[in-house]
């Protein structure tokens, strides 16, 4: 098959045809990428195992560090253990039937004794050494990077890339800037 294609006298027409076919192939590849990879990924981020909503918790007056105490004294903020969820939820009276159903799911999970497998939203590559503690020590608010959590469901995906970090690092006072824009501050 391929032989017969190329055995004919190779002309510019054939080459053009080949180029067009490649372009169509590429387009198909992109389409396939969106359909089979990117769309399911977006869906996967949305598909959390429990219908958790940040907004309800923040509006109820729960401080960020109550559930994520690691942020103030360690590299990772951490997610609350099931035991911590249950610490409040054994006593909380749900607002309505939907709330009741959602909390029942949590209680059911607690009874299985197995951890919840949350989908990770904020991710840094392995070559970045991010640490929450110095940021909080300098008074950076959670919302600066994570957005207005008080109005979010689970969480929104932000593009926390290097430009995002540097925008802020560059804006610091002169004596800090040299250190803060040094590569080795985050990549070591």
């Amino acid at each position: 098959m391929l032989q017969s294609l190329f055995r004919a006298r190779p002309t510019r027409v054939w080459l053009l045809l080949g180029g067009a076919a490649t372009l169509i192939g590429l387009a198909a590849l992109f389409a396939a990428f969106w359909i089979f990879i990117q769309a399911p990924r977006a869906q996967a981020y949305a598909a959390q195992p429990l219908p958790f909503e940040h907004s309800k918790h923040v509006q109820a007056g729960v401080n960020c560090f109550f559930c994520h105490p690691g942020a103030t004294n360690g590299p990772v903020a951490g997610l609350p253990s099931l035991a911590k969820c249950m610490g409040c939820h054994v006593a909380i009276t749900p607002k309505d039937a939907k709330d009741q159903a959602d909390i029942d799911k949590l209680i059911k999970q607690w009874e299985t004794g197995r951890p919840i497998r949350w989908v990770k939203i904020f991710e840094q590559p392995d070559f970045v050494r991010f640490n929450h503690r110095p940021h909080l020590a300098q008074g950076v608010a959670c919302e600066t990077c994570h957005g207005n959590v008080a109005e979010m469901g689970y969480a929104q995906v932000y593009n926390l890339n290097m430009g995002f970090c540097l925008n802020c690092h560059r804006a610091q006072s002169a004596e800090k800037v040299t250190r803060l824009i040094d590569c080795a501050t985050c990549h070591y």
């Binding site: 032989q3 190329f6 055995r7 006298r9 190779p10 080459l15 080949g18 180029g19 490649t22 192939g25 590429l26 590849l29 992109f30 990428f33 990879i37 990924r41 996967a44 981020y45 690691g70 004294n73 360690g74 590299p75 990772v76 903020a77 951490g78 997610l79 609350p80 253990s81 099931l82 035991a83 911590k84 607690w110 004794g113 197995r114 951890p115 919840i116 497998r117 949350w118 989908v119 990770k120 939203i121 991710e123």
Partner: protein, 740 residues
């Protein structure tokens, strides 16, 4: 036909295809979002993203190296050596690193089980309460003295618990037969040292770090012998002496082991002639060495030696012997090591005594300056250590089993794999009405058990190890769980403490602790901090320091210097006996411990399976090392599958043409040939232990290097997985190089 596609078009099309790949590669990120699993109930001290390090003890072999395990989010991730530990000083071998794979092994038993019919593999899960009640009932119903324990070198804390347990039951003392210890010659060496120095049997410490010349008679101290990590460290010191002094190593061994390969001289000595050679070296020293040797009280022992005879038997010429012997007097601190390879012969004790006496002749035993010291006494006598039993002890138990005198047998180890088939353990086991195994993987012996009470792995359990073989101070290595038990398993020491409670009476009195933690607290409470590496004034301090540091040891080196021993007049050296002599078995079998798999215990871990053997670079299979000349005579080539047959059995192995072995010897590594030991070990290679004759040396230990075999080609080929090419070996074969 020649004009398919011009060169230009080919390049154009290639460019297009390349661009297409590059463009699509830029955008596609196939990575799916990660999952986060917060704790259900978090440990109090855990901080997300921060590691916790626990100091504990490695149990991949019996040496007792200190380890530090990095635990992240409740899961052990990495094992490293404990830099404070006096034995391994921060170093750790490949086996120690691979310990995580025992913990996470997918085929681990997850709860206690009973087996409907032995060998059926029909396991029914049992609650621990029911399993322990059943075991206790069987022990109660057994005739007096008809309960027995068979194990390998179990953790010292377990030995300290089962010792009193079986004593209180008036049952026979536990039998701890260990292949690794047998290949190291632990027991024979300890007995020979005790006898020569007139002390309790104890392993000597060979101070090779401060030596300037080391003669090693088959001591594979950089591979498997006693503690390769500690000796490897000492070997580095030997090589990098102060002021550019570089110590000298001579290795006497029939096979070029990795230790022989790093030696300055490798002497391929005829197996079993080591005693004669040691005596001949001594005689040359006495006659021609002058000075200390001539006037030594030990001189009399060597005067009757036969130099000519030794040269003829060992294949080392008289001139060479003279050269070697006289080189010893040129050095201030010579050390001559009686290694494990001596233990494999029927004249092992005589050979070890002769080699130790050679040290005495050179004035290296006695006094703080001596290059040989004794392992210091334990920090507190309460910390008992497991001592290996002889092969004769194991056989005595097997005879009892065969006679139907054992009602309940507890097995912590894998005798159906470890023991030569000729020992008859399988027949004995069939006559025991109730067999309990503690194996965490269903091994060959557990398949033949009625009840399996899976032990924790060492990363999940409490314990201690008396650092015996090479320590320069009385060190205790502490073991603590670095992770909560992954499954519903139970530490065997806890099982025996629980059984003691159930049995009551004398047994309960002997073992009053409710669990191993209380037992460990009681023991560490006795430690005092005179010279300890951390302050100990109260039992609580001892317990805290023990867990923080990973054990107990003095800060300074403490060497128990033996008194200069009374010199024996004579030494009976019998001719080595080889099973199958004159029976059409032309080759002597030299089995050796695998650096990665040890005596077979490492075979369950894929990292170790994949670790190439240092000399052949082979892995995943069993091979037989044959000298090129021998191979030519046999008409076999590399990667041929041959039968290695002794009078006791036969195995199949792949031929590896190895110039580094005597033509009259064939070598096979230990470790493979498991039929039931988890998915990574099963049905790979063959078990060389099956070939061994049930012969013993003068001290009742297995003479594991005294079996003759024949090689029978099968006509089949199987390529041995290895990472080296064969250029060097082929060259040697073509040029008919003979070692030595």
């Amino acid at each position: 036909m020649t004009q398919f596609l011009s060169r230009r078009q080919f390049i154009q099309l290639g460019g297009l295809a390349g661009t297409a790949v590059a463009v699509s590669g830029c955008t596609i990120n196939l990575q799916q979002p990660e999952k986060l699993e917060p704790y259900v109930t978090p440990p109090e001290e855990a901080l997300p993203g921060e590691n916790i390090w626990y100091a504990s003890t490695c149990r991949q072999c019996a040496a007792g190296c200190g380890i530090i395990v990095r635990v992240s989010n409740g899961r052990p991730r990495k094992i490293e050596g404990n830099p404070q530990h006096p034995l391994n000083r921060g170093k750790l071998c490949a086996r120690g690193q691979a310990g995580l794979q025992l913990l996470y092994h997918p085929d681990r038993l997850r709860n206690a089980v009973k087996q409907a019919r032995r060998g059926s593999r029909q396991f029914t899960p049992l609650y621990w309460e029911a399993a322990l009640a059943q075991a206790a009932e069987r022990v109660k119903a057994a005739r007096p003295g008809a309960v027995a324990f068979y194990g390998n070198l179990i953790p010292d804390n377990l030995a300290a618990i089962i010792g009193p347990f079986f004593q209180a039951l008036n049952a026979p003392a536990p039998v701890l037969f260990d292949v690794q210890a047998t290949f190291d010659g632990r027991r024979t060496l300890a007995l020979a040292t005790g006898q020569l120095l007139g002390v309790e049997p104890a392993l000597p410490v060979f101070d090779i770090a401060r030596a300037d010349v080391v003669f090693s008679f088959g001591a594979n101290f950089t591979e498997t012998w006693l503690s390769p990590v500690a000796y490897g460290h000492a070997f580095a010191a030997l090589r990098g002496g102060p002021l550019g002094k570089r110590g000298y190593l001579v290795q006497f061994e029939p096979r070029l082991s990795a230790t022989a390969a790093v030696a300055d001289k490798w002497i391929p000595i005829a197996p079993g002639t080591e005693a004669a050679v040691a005596l001949a070296l001594g005689k040359i020293l006495v006659l021609e060495g002058g000075g200390a040797a001539k006037d030594s009280p030990f001189a009399a022992l060597f005067r009757s030696a036969d130099i000519q005879g030794a040269a003829a038997a060992s294949g080392i010429s008289e001139d060479r012997l003279r050269e070697l012997a006289l080189s010893l007097v040129r050095f201030a601190r010579p050390v001559i090591i009686p290694g494990g390879a001596l233990a494999g012969h029927t004249n092992a004790a005589a050979a070890m005594t002769a080699v130790l006496a050679l040290n005495a002749l050179l004035g290296q035993i006695g006094g703080q300056a001596g290059a040989i010291a004794l392992t210091p006494a334990a920090a507190d006598p309460a910390f008992a250590a497991a001592t290996p039993s002889s092969f004769a002890d194991a056989r005595a138990l097997i005879e009892k089993m065969k006679a139907g005198a054992i009602d309940v047998l507890f097995v912590h180890g894998n005798p159906l794999y470890d023991l030569p088939v000729a020992a008859g353990f399988a027949e004995g086991l069939a006559r025991v009405p109730f067999v309990v195994s503690f194996s965490s993987l269903v091994d060959e012996t557990a398949v033949q058990a009625d009840l399996i009470l899976p032990d924790h792995t060492y990363l999940e359990s409490w314990g201690y190890q008396v650092v015996a073989p090479v320590a320069d101070r009385p060190a205790l290595s502490g073991q603590q769980p670095v992770v909560a038990a992954l499954y519903d398993t139970r530490a065997t020491s806890d099982v025996f403490l629980d059984l003691a409670l159930r049995l009551g009476g004398a047994v309960k009195q002997a073992l009053p602790w409710p669990n191993t933690v209380e037992f460990m607290k009681a023991l560490t409470g006795k430690l005092r901090g005179k010279d300890a590496a951390y302050p100990v004034k109260t039992p609580e301090q001892a317990w805290a320091g023990w867990r923080q540091m990973g054990g107990w040891w003095p800060t300074a080196e403490e060497r128990a210097a033996p008194k200069p021993p009374p010199a024996p007049r004579t030494l009976d050296v019998s001719r080595p006996q080889f099973a199958g002599e004159g029976g059409g078995y032309p080759f002597l079998l030299y089995p050796y411990g695998s650096v990665a798999l040890g005596d077979g215990r490492g075979a369950s871990q894929p990292w170790l399976q994949e670790t190439p053997d240092p000399m052949t670079t082979a892995s995943w299979d069993t091979w037989v090392e044959i000298n090129p000349i021998t191979a030519k005579a046999l008409g076999v080539e590399r990667d041929d599958v041959v039968k290695v047959a002794s009078a006791n059995g036969e195995i199949e192995a792949i031929v590896y043409i190895y110039p580094g072995i005597r033509p009259d010897v064939v070598a096979v590594p230990l470790g493979q040939g498991h039929s039931s030991f988890g998915r990574y070990a099963n049905n790979k290679g063959a078990n060389v232990l099956a070939l061994l004759a049930a012969q013993t040396n003068e001290r009742g230990d297995l003479a594991w290097a005294a079996t003759r075999v024949k090689i029978v080609p099968t006509g089949r080929r199987r390529v041995l997985p290895r990472i080296e090419n064969n250029v060097g070996v082929d060259f040697a074969q073509k040029n008919e190089k003979v070692p030595g």
